[in-house]
């Protein structure tokens, strides 16, 4: 009886290890939502060179991704839309410090229905509903809030309850595109994807920190060949070209 139990136990353990080992050929990416299309192209390109690696990307707001990673989600590679969330993970010792670098920049615009009567930031208080990423966790919302506070209109918008929170930049864009809000703060790169909404004005860059995209390997990713391969791949010229194509400003 005891021998039988031991045999079963060993087989199960072996099977588990084998499945875990089978995952070794998988690469988990956690990428800020605004880089969705960019990274889908990068992944496609990467897979041409590394066809055996299975790449599983997770696109969401940088803040919620950071939270997931901090709580143990299996991410090998992290891209944030601001340095705040990267800093957060660094402080939590889940990021390999030396792999952290900013690789792209973006800027903030306000999109909405072309007929909307607004041409600059100060006119924002005349609108009824404004889409903005949830400031606590979505970088595009954090940048927008920063700009609105600098312009002295944020509190007024909060008090008059005009802010509609979106879970990431793509949702904010969708709200504006659908006409559910009068307009949304999104990245310049997202505005290019809108179908009906148009850029109504650009947010003056002086009012907010430069939109910087840091990338890094997680501690877990640093131990995986696939992850380091991908990390090195990100330095390629082809990647730079993809960034430019989608409207991002590559870092030198």
């Amino acid at each position: 009886m005891m021998i039988r139990a031991k045999v079963v136990f060993c087989s199960v353990a072996l099977m588990l290890m084998w499945t875990v080992a089978a995952q070794a050929g998988t690469l988990y990416l956690s990428v800020a939502a605004s880089m969705t299309d960019v990274f889908q192209e990068i992944i496609a390109l990467f897979s041409e060179t590394y066809p055996d690696t299975k790449v599983l990307p997770n696109f969401a707001s940088s803040g919620s991704l950071a939270k997931q990673i901090a709580q143990g989600a299996p991410a090998d590679f992290y891209v944030s839309a601001n340095t705040k969330w990267m800093q957060y993970l660094l402080e939590n010792d889940v990021i390999i410090d030396s792999t952290c670098r900013v690789f792209a920049f973006n800027s903030l615009v306000f999109v909405g229905d072309p007929d909307t009567d607004i041409s600059e930031l100060t006119g924002i208080t005349s609108l009824q509903k404004i889409g903005i990423g949830t400031p606590q966790s979505v970088p595009v919302g954090q940048y927008a809030r920063q700009a609105l506070e600098a312009a002295g209109v944020y509190q007024s918008l909060v008090d008059t309850r005009k802010l509609v929170f979106a879970k990431d930049t793509r949702q904010a864009l969708l709200y504006a595109d659908r006409g559910a809000v009068d307009g949304s703060f999104v990245y310049k790169t997202d505005a290019l994807l809108a179908r009906h909404a148009k850029v109504l004005f650009t947010v003056p860059t002086a009012l907010y920190d430069r939109v910087s995209y840091p990338l890094a390997l997680t501690v877990g990713g640093g131990a995986k060949d696939e992850a380091t391969a991908f990390y090195e791949f990100m330095a390629a010229d082809t990647v730079q070209a993809i960034l430019v194509k989608h409207g991002f400003e590559p870092a030198d």
Binding site: G63, Y88, Q136, V158, R161, F165, R178, G179, A180
Partner: protein
């Protein structure tokens, strides 16, 4: 423990739940009446439509409502013409809760009505009471408990409604951010767990409160 915003979320949750329940009451009662005492052909169809929100995922319900009330739909554009906005307003939150909770109310009331001997209503009619008179003096008093149970169920369901609400009403602090939406937002924020937990406790407390009140009212109705 709780931020100013959270009090707003609590107030909104109660507001939406109360509105949804009160609005649904006359319609839910009427539909239950039709299903139990009505003699029409389309009963099976009506029953199916009413029960649909029970089996559909709330997100699907939310999306369908979005299609129905969106600016580009016939109903939506009609409402816009009269200056009535639905999407991303408190109205939307109430609509979402109403649709999702309606079948629960109807179900409960229905069970109560099926337990009412039709002859009580017949007796009342032969004693000189018209249809409405019978409804208010006999039928409704005899279905108090079931109606109350249905309302409680619907209210509680509305306090927890998320999927349809976030799609139709959006996450607008102070306007549509009910407790579930606030908790969801907190769970996406690193460091927001304490706040999320606080709201969870409030939510549990509210649900208990609703149950207590319902029990108390239930007991105050004399047994027969």
């Amino acid at each position: 423990m709780l931020a100013v915003n959270d009090f707003s979320a609590i107030r909104l949750s109660l507001q939406v739940a109360a509105c949804a329940t009160i609005i649904s009451l006359p319609f839910g009662y009427a539909v239950a009446y039709l299903l139990v005492f009505g003699r029409m052909r389309g009963k099976v169809l009506l029953e199916g439509v009413v029960n649909l929100p029970l089996v559909l995922p709330p997100v699907v319900i939310g999306y369908l409502l979005l299609l129905l009330f969106g600016k580009h739909s016939p109903l939506g554009s009609l409402l816009v013409r009269y200056g009535i906005e639905v999407i991303f307003t408190l109205k939307a939150a109430v609509i979402a809760s109403t649709v999702v909770g309606f079948p629960l109310l109807v179900r409960s009331v229905r069970i109560g009505m099926e337990n009412v001997d039709r002859r009580y209503m017949q007796a009342s009619r032969t004693l000189g009471a018209g249809w409405w008179d019978t409804l208010f003096s006999v039928t409704i008093p005899l279905t108090y408990k079931a109606t109350l149970a249905g309302m409680t169920l619907m209210f509680a369901r509305s306090l927890g409604e998320f999927g349809a609400t976030i799609i139709l009403a959006g996450n607008i602090p102070g306007v549509t951010q009910t407790i579930p939406l606030a908790i969801y937002q907190y769970t996406s924020v690193p460091g927001g767990d304490a706040m999320a937990l606080s709201l969870c406790l409030v939510s549990i407390g509210l649900s208990f409160g609703v149950l207590m009140i319902s029990e108390a009212v239930n007991r105050s109705i004399p047994r027969r």
